[in-house]
C-alpha cells in the first residue's frame, strides 16, 4: 500500500496533465496539534504529497527558514515518536495523501532503523527521505523500510554524475527528489535548462517520477518547475508562514496561512503546463 499510494498520487496528477505538488512542513512547529491541522490544510488545499519534517538540531542541508523551524519544534520538545504520531492522526482522517518523513539520520539511528521502519509503517507513513544517508550509507534503513514496503526516496543533485545517477537510482522507490541547485534549502534556483537535463537524467536512470525542489517560493516558479518534472516541492516558503503567524502573535493561524499559500501554489501548478 504505501509505495503504491505514492505512485497513485503522481499518476493522478499526470492524468490531469499537471505536476504533483509536494508540500513540506516542519512537524511540531509551532506545536503538534497545529501541525496536525496544518497537514489537513495542506491536503485540503491541493498538496498531493506531504513531506513531514522531523526536526534535528544540526540540519546541515537546510537554510535559515527550516533551521529555525526545527529549533522551534525542538524547543517544544518534539520527538521522532511525536512526528510519527502526528502522521498517524492525519492518516486516520485521510487515506489518500502520501506522507513522507524527511529528516536527518541521527534521530532515526538512535531509535534503530528497523524499529523506526516498523513504527513509521504503523503510523501510515509511505516513504522516508534522509538527507545525510546517501546510497552508500542507507542500506540498513533501506532494508528496514523494504520489510514494510515503505519508499526510500533519494536525492539527486546537479553534482550527481551519470555514473552516480545509476547508484542513486538503484534502490530508490516512490520517486526521486531532484535538487534544483547545489545549495541549501531556501536558496535560489538553478538555470532551467540545467534543471531539465538533471531531471531527465534522474528519470531515465530510475524509471520513477522525479520531483524537483529547493528554491521554489512563488506560484510563478512553481508553474515553471511543473513543466520540467513530475512533481514540484515547496518547503521554506510554507514553513515561513508559521514564523509569520508566530510573529503576528497568532500561531494558531499558521494552518490557515499555510493553506492559503498552498492553494495559490497548487493553482499555479494545475495550469502550469497549459
Amino acid at each position: 500500500m504505501p509505495i503504491s499510494r505514492i505512485s497513485a498520487a503522481f499518476e493522478k496528477a499526470e492524468s490531469h496533465n499537471r505536476a504533483a505538488f509536494v508540500a513540506y512542513m516542519m512537524c511540531g512547529d509551532p506545536d503538534l496539534d497545529t501541525s496536525f491541522e496544518a497537514m489537513k490544510a495542506l491536503a485540503d488545499n491541493g498538496a498531493d504529497v506531504i513531506e513531514l519534517g522531523a526536526p534535528f538540531t544540526d540540519p546541515m542541508a537546510d537554510g535559515p527558514a527550516i533551521q529555525k523551524a526545527a529549533l522551534r519544534s525542538l524547543a517544544n520538545g518534539t520527538k521522532l515518536a511525536d512526528v510519527l504520531s502526528t502522521a498517524k492522526r492525519f492518516r486516520e482522517t485521510n487515506q489518500d495523501t502520501p506522507i513522507i518523513i524527511m529528516g536527518y539520520a541521527n534521530p532515526i539511528h538512535k531509535m534503530g532503523y528497523a524499529e523506526f521502519a516498523r513504527a513509521a509503517s504503523e503510523a501510515g507513513v509511505d516513504g522516508v527521505i534522509t538527507v545525510d544517508l546517501p546510497p552508500e550509507e542507507d542500506e540498513e534503513l533501506r532494508l528496514g523500510l523494504a520489510e514494510v514496503d515503505l519508499a526510500v526516496i533519494r536525492l539527486a543533485t546537479p553534482t550527481t554524475t551519470d555514473d552516480r545517477m545509476k547508484i542513486v537510482a538503484d534502490g530508490s522507490s516512490g520517486f526521486v527528489y531532484y535538487v534544483s541547485v547545489a545549495g541549501i534549502t531556501g536558496s535560489g534556483t538553478g538555470a532551467q535548462t540545467d534543471i531539465q537535463a538533471g531531471v531527465d537524467r534522474a528519470k531515465n536512470a530510475s524509471g520513477l517520477p522525479v520531483a524537483v525542489g529547493f528554491g521554489v517560493k512563488t506560484p510563478e516558479q512553481a508553474a515553471e518547475f511543473s513543466r520540467l518534472a513530475n512533481g514540484v516541492v515547496v518547503g521554506s516558503a510554507i514553513v515561513e508562514e508559521v514564523r509569520l503567524a508566530i510573529e503576528a502573535g497568532a500561531p494558531e493561524d499558521a494552518p490557515k496561512r499555510m493553506g492559503a499559500l498552498v492553494k495559490s501554489l497548487a493553482g499555479a501548478i494545475a495550469t502550469g503546463r497549459s
Binding site: D132, L155, A156
Partner: protein, 404 residues
C-alpha cells in the same frame, strides 16, 4: 623509518574504522568527497607533492618540532620522566598547521580557488588563513559567535592575514555550529571551494587525510625518543577535541603494544553535571558531520551542546578513529575538568616557562596521574600541541583578574 603498520588498513574502502566513520553527507557533496579521495591517493603517490609538502614543513612551519625533557614538571610529579613534543613551536602556534598545509596543497592540486574552514579556538582558522595568505588564496573562516568573543586575539590575527570571518550564531555559537555553516557554504559553492576541515573528523577521506598529515608528530616523536632514551615510551598522551593532534601522535605507535595511548577529553564542569565535551566518556555512537562516531546526544538523537573552558575542545563529537581505538581497547581516554585544566595551565607556566594552550593543559593535568602510576622508571611523551598566548585573556577572566 617505516612506520606503516597493520592498523593502516583502516579506514577500509568504505571509509570505515570498524563500525565508525563513513560518508554521511548530502548527495550534493558525495561526488566531491569521492574526488577528494581519488586526488588524495594520487597526491600521496606523487613524489613532487611530498617534496613540496616536506620542504614547506621544514622551512615555513619549522619542523621537526623539538622533543623537550620537562625536568621540573617531572620533579614536581615525582614519577615517570615527562617529555613534551613541542608542536606549540610550529609557525602559528599549534599542530593545526601540519594539516592545513597538506590540505591547501591538495586544494591547489585540485584547481580549487577558494578555501573555507571552521574554527573553534581559532588556531585552525589562523593556520588556514596563514597558508592561504602564503598562496594568495581567498579564505573564509566560520566561527561560532561565542568563540569569536572568547578568542579575540585569534580573530584579529585572521583578519590581519586577510581572511573573512563569519560569526555563526545558530545553536550555541560554538564549533559544531561553525562546522554546520561551513558545510552549508560548501554545498553551495562546490564548484570552486575546498573545505579544509580542522580535525580528524568529517566524512571519509577527511579523518584519514588529517591523520596522515598530523602523523608527522608521532613519527618525529618516535625517532626523537629512541635517540634520546634508547627506548620507546610507556605512554603517549594528548588532549582530544576532534582528535587530530592525538591521532597524529598515536598512529605511528599503534603497533607498539607496550606503548599506552592515552587521550584526555574535556570534562567541563564534570560529566555528572552534563556540562562537558567528553564524547567518548559521556556519549554514545551516532551520526553527525559526515561520520558515525561517539557523540553527545539525548534519548531522541538530538545533539547536546558541548561545554568546555577550552574553545578548541568544545565539540560534541570525536574523530571516528578514536571511537574505534576506544572500542578495540587499544587507546584509553581520560578526562579533565575546566578547573583542573586551569591549574595545570598555571603549573606548566610557572615550572617550565611554557604557557600552554588550554587544550593541552587538559593533558598536562592527567600526565601527573600517569607519571605517578608509572613510577620513576616510566617514560611519557605528551603532545604540547599549542601555545597559550590566545588564552591569556580568558584565563585572566576565569581567575578574576582584570588586564583589559
Amino acid at each position: 623509518m617505516d612506520t606503516r603498520n597493520t592498523w593502516d588498513k583502516w579506514p577500509d574502502e568504505n571509509g570505515r574504522f570498524g563500525e565508525f566513520g563513513g560518508r554521511y553527507v548530502a548527495e550534493t557533496l558525495m561526488p566531491l568527497i569521492h574526488d577528494l579521495e581519488k586526488e588524495y591517493n594520487a597526491a600521496k603517490a606523487d613524489p613532487e607533492f611530498e617534496t613540496l609538502y616536506r620542504g614547506l614543513m621544514q622551512d615555513y612551519v619549522g619542523r621537526p618540532s623539538a622533543m623537550y625533557f620537562a625536568e621540573r614538571l617531572t620533579e614536581h610529579f615525582d614519577g615517570a620522566k615527562i617529555y613534551f613534543k613541542r608542536d606549540e613551536l610550529n609557525h602559528t602556534g599549534s599542530h593545526k598547521v601540519n594539516n592545513c598545509l597538506g590540505q591547501v596543497l591538495l586544494a591547489l592540486r585540485m584547481g580549487k580557488t577558494r578555501i573555507i574552514a571552521e574554527t573553534g579556538a581559532g588556531q585552525h582558522g589562523v593556520a588556514t588563513a596563514t597558508i592561504c595568505a602564503r598562496f594568495g588564496l581567498p579564505c573564509t573562516v566560520f566561527m561560532g559567535a561565542t568563540d569569536v568573543e572568547r578568542q579575540k586575539p585569534n580573530v584579529f590575527r585572521m583578519k590581519l592575514l586577510g581572511a573573512e570571518i563569519v560569526p555563526v550564531s545558530s545553536g550555541t555559537g560554538t564549533l559544531k555550529d561553525a562546522m554546520n555553516e561551513a558545510l552549508r557554504d560548501w554545498v553551495t559553492n562546490v564548484h570552486d571551494t575546498f573545505y579544509v576541515i580542522g580535525t580528524a573528523a568529517g566524512p571519509h577521506p577527511y579523518p584519514q587525510l588529517v591523520r596522515d598529515f598530523q602523523s608527522v608528530i608521532g613519527r618525529e616523536a618516535k625517532a626523537q625518543i629512541l635517540e634520546r632514551e634508547g627506548r620507546l615510551p610507556d605512554a603517549v598522551m594528548a588532549c582530544i577535541g576532534g582528535g587530530s593532534n592525538a591521532i597524529g601522535l598515536f598512529h605511528p605507535f599503534l603497533e607498539d603494544e607496550g606503548v599506552r595511548l592515552i587521550g584526555v577529553e574535556a570534562e567541563g564542569s564534570g560529566i555528572e553535571t552534563g556540562e562537558h565535551a567528553a564524547a567518548l566518556n559521556g556519549g554514545e555512537p551516532g551520526i553527525l558531520h559526515g561520520n558515525r562516531t561517539y557523540l553527545l546526544q539525548d534519548d531522541d538523537g538530538q545533539i547536546i551542546d558541548a561545554h568546555s573552558i577550552s574553545a578548541g575542545l568544545d565539540y560534541p563529537g570525536i574523530g571516528p578513529e578514536h571511537s574505534f581505538l576506544k572500542d578495540t581497547g587499544r587507546a584509553q581516554y581520560l578526562t579533565c575538568t575546566d578547573k583542573e585544566a586551569l591549574e595545570a595551565f598555571q603549573l606548566c607556566t610557572k615550572l617550565e616557562g611554557i604557557i600552554p594552550a588550554l587544550e593541552p593543559a587538559h593533558a598536562i593535568a592527567r600526565v601527573g596521574d600517569v607519571a605517578k602510576e608509572l613510577g620513576k622508571d616510566g617514560l611519557i611523551i605528551m603532545n604540547l600541541c599549542g601555545r597559550g598566548d590566545k588564552d591569556v585573556f580568558s584565563v585572566a577572566e576565569h581567575l578574576g583578574i582584570d588586564i583589559a
